[in-house]
Amino acid sequence: MNQFNECFQTLTDEDVFEAMKRIPGYVDITPSDFLDIYKIAFDHALSRIRSAVLASHVMTPKVVSVTEDEPVLEAVKKMGKYNISGLPVLDSQNRIVGVISEKDFLTRMNEKQAPSFMQVLQQCLETSGCLMVSFKSLKIGDIMSSPPVTIARDATLAEVAGTLDRLSINRLPVCDESSILVGIIARSDIVQVMC
């Protein structure tokens, strides 16, 4: 976030000087005074936006989700159909109980902790077959990541971005006070707000 901040602050004295030349009349300020004011004003605007924009403003309210007692195939179908890499998992009362993502499938297909797709493929090619067969009997609840990382509806944009960054995750389900899923925020949603 700070890098973002600095890259927008690279106004030079020259830029300001050129701008001042275009303003008719004598502007009673030096270019460097303007830069000082600009930097402080920019930081102020940034922190205002970061705390004024809430998770509920940037989230996608219509969430594709699955329930924990559905077969794994259901998650596979939905992730394929909507071209997404992860889904929140709900219990029968619509409370979020976990998240299922490509990572969970890969982990199941390999002995390694958090393997990549290529590592799984390597194992499939080197050994006689893949472990795919074993998925058929499993329920989503068996392979999902739980407990899920979620965020409250009134969390600020700064908290959302910080959580995504700190945990290196790509999506963050948004919940109300009683763990009911109300939306989801993907990394790309944050980029859209900033630009």
Partner: protein
């Protein structure tokens, strides 16, 4: 110590030069603003006990006809700065005139402090306060009338001219704010 002198080196850039258009409007404004005040002083009311023009008006002209965007040139600063400084100047003279060096310094310093505190900073105000102390007997004899003649009347005339002239100039806008 090194830093102390380093601070004096500046390092910043001076603002750009104004266009010929600006220079001409500044000239016209200053001429039309000073003219009626000077005419009052030298022609209409010559021979009376009053003074209608003081040096600080020249300084105000620089701001209200030459740097119209400046916060220092706005009506609040022009009126407030001159009147408060005049008040400080006259009071200082009456209290401390046996010690002219002290009265002179005290009047200017206090005028600046008061203008800052009231958000009416107007550089010519410092001159207005100083003139009340170091001025002629004619000025001293005015007492607090100094706030009305020459300061109040002169500043009002110059303000009206600034409004007329700066509004006529297409690329100018005056004031930025009133109070």
């Amino acid at each position: 110590m090194k830093n102390y002198f380093k601070k004096m080196s500046g390092g910043g850039q001076r603002p750009p030069k104004v266009t010929l258009y600006e220079i001409l409007w500044s000239w016209a404004g200053a001429f039309l603003g000073i003219a009626p005040v000077a005419w009052l002083n030298y022609s209409l009311l010559q021979g009376t006990d009053f003074v209608y023009i003081i040096g600080s008006f020249g300084a105000s002209a620089v701001l209200i006809y030459g740097a119209v965007r400046s916060p220092l040139a706005q009506p609040r600063n022009l009126l407030g700065g001159h009147l408060l400084s005049a008040l400080v100047g006259v009071a200082t003279y009456q209290l401390f005139h046996p010690y002219p060096w002290f009265a002179a310094a005290f009047s200017v310093a206090t005028a600046i402090a008061l203008m800052h505190a009231t958000q009416t900073l107007h550089p010519p105000g410092g001159a207005t306060a100083l003139i009340a102390v170091i001025g002629s007997d004619k000025i001293h004899d005015l007492g607090f009338w100094y706030l009305v003649f020459p300061v109040g009347i002169g500043v009002l005339i110059m303000l009206v001219v600034a409004l007329i002239v700066n509004t006529l100039a297409k690329k100018r806008k005056y004031p930025e704010f009133w109070f």
